[in-house]
Amino acid sequence: MSTANGLTIAVPRGALFEGTVELLSSLGIDTGELRTNDRKLLFEDIGVVTMRPSDVPTYVEAGAADIGVTGKDVLLEQLAHAGGGASQSTGRDVYELLDLGFGRCTMVLASKAGPDPALESLRRLGVMRVATKYPRIAARYLEETGRQGEIVEVKGSVELAPLTGMVEAIVDLTATGTTLRENNLVVREELMVCTARLIANPVAHKLKAARIDELLERLRGLPAAGKA
């Protein structure tokens, strides 16, 4: 079988790419070109479009792709942040169908080794500054745990922020903790475990029900999926 039975799949480039391509291969899809051509975006023969992981929900929500693979961190970050403990269920209008189990990472709160500078800041100044690529997740977490935080959004190398004294702590995703250790940071709290998820467009979920269900069935039959 050369295509994912007529479905368009949004595949994330980056950390989840390898796992996703492997998944497609084990479904019998020819991923040769997908593996070798990293500039191409649209692989019509196999019904695949590639993009950065945070764009996957956008394309799937709009129906430009029927289904997609993205990280739980991305889905959580795209939940609208409603403050003051208001109910906040309004994420992307996509269906989360399956925990694919791979790409396992932990969202952590980390700060410099030694006496926790975040605690000290909270004690003396009543607020902790937190750098992150996930401003909504970080803000929600601090609010839920009753701490006043000042969120500083950065686009890359979050570890730099506490080392330069810009902030006292970071919220970031870590797989092995190596980068944190190398930068003399220690994990203070674990927020959540994030894995790759299979998401679907609501209309495709109805109009292409049989094809999506068949795919789900086969994915559930694979050793990795749903075991996270």
Partner: protein
């Protein structure tokens, strides 16, 4: 000079007005043929009155104070205002009552998502007509409407809002957990649903059913082997289905997990899909308790079509359907849609 307007609103200029008018005129003709009388209600209502409707995620988002300090709201749908009209102006009238409307409704939006703050809805309300006949009539008008405007590939998803609550009840899910489970289902987050079932201590066959039944969608064959707790809802769906003409029945997809994000639905719920658009272009259902909240207890059913979405779907069908077809046309012409 450039003067901006709020995101999610727009000016409709003559070319678009002409196209939209063609759609609404056609719909008006269909509603009229089925004996639905057109009504207008104010866009502004008292907050204290509309609050009776309990609309969950579709609740009104805009409030203003009038000159006496009373809180007014911009309506977020037409079902609640029409329920108010029936209780107030048709308190003793014979039923069924049939109303149709073309009206702007107002909702809050999430930024950069193409959502409409001001949305033109065209719909009907059939008051005092119980299931299954009333439901079948509403579905028939809906199907006639979509066919009349020339939409080719649409399907109507039909579910029942009482099905999942009935399943939870009969499988003895503790009441504390029901809200969370229903919320996961409303978002169709099946991963969260599975986790929450585990948290709620539901396991084995019960968990299996609660996870698997709402994922069933397909043709009428779905209605023959429903598990015992779902039988009542499914029997209701089958009765409606049996009343449908062939051209309507052929458009129906049954979806045992269909739950809309509005709390007032009590029985059958529908959503309209077209492969040319990634989001529903209309929806509706039965709201047998809503009229009672306004003081005249009557069973009722209705639907609303989102005129702008319908317009987009029609344009999309003209260009050739399907997600990948869409991508190709963008790539080749360089023009977004």
């Amino acid at each position: 000079m450039i003067h901006p307007i709020p995101s999610g609103t727009r000016d409709v200029l003559p070319q678009e007005t002409g196209e939209v008018r063609a759609i609404t005129d056609t719909l008006r003709g269909v509603f009229d043929r089925h004996k639905y009388g057109e009504i207008y209600t104010p866009a502004l209502e008292y907050e204290s009155v509309l609050a009776r409707a309990d609309m969950a995620e579709a609740r009104p988002a805009y409030r203003v104070f009038d000159e006496t300090g009373t809180v007014l709201m911009l309506r977020s749908d037409m079902t609640a205002p029409i329920a108010r009209v029936v209780a107030t102006r048709y308190a003793d009238s014979e039923v069924p009552l049939r109303f149709c409307y073309f009206a702007h409704t107002y909702r809050g939006v999430r930024p950069q998502r193409g959502q409409l703050r001001e949305m033109l809805q065209a719909g009907i309300e059939l008051i005092g007509a119980p299931a299954p006949e009333g439901t079948a009539e509403a579905l028939t008008v809906l199907c006639d409407s979509l066919q009349a405007v020339g939409l080719k590939d649409f399907r109507i998803g039909v579910g029942d809002a009482s099905l999942f609550p009935a399943l939870m009840e009969s499988l003895q899910v503790s009441e504390d957990h029901r809200g969370g489970l229903l919320e996961a289902l409303v978002r169709r987050n099946f991963v969260a649903l599975e986790h929450r079932l585990h948290e709620a201590g539901v396991s084995g066959e019960a968990a299996e059913l609660l996870l698997e039944v709402p994922q069933r969608r397909g043709g009428p064959e779905l209605l023959t082997d429903a598990p015992a707790p779902a039988v009542e809802a499914v029997t209701g769906m089958r009765r409606v289905y049996e009343l449908l003409e062939e051209n309507v029945a052929a458009r129906v997809i049954f979806d045992l997990g269909l739950v809309r994000n509005i709390d007032y639905y009590t029985g059958a719920v529908f959503e309209v899909y077209d492969p040319a658009l990634g989001a529903p272009i209309g929806g509706g259902g039965r709201y047998d308790d809503l009229l009672g909240r306004f003081g005249r207890s009557l069973p009722a059913v209705g639907f609303a079509l989102y005129v702008d979405s319908l317009h987009q779907a029609l344009a999309g069908e003209e260009r050739g359907t399907g997600a990948l077809a869409e991508l190709r046309s963008v790539a080749s012409t360089g023009e977004p849609r």
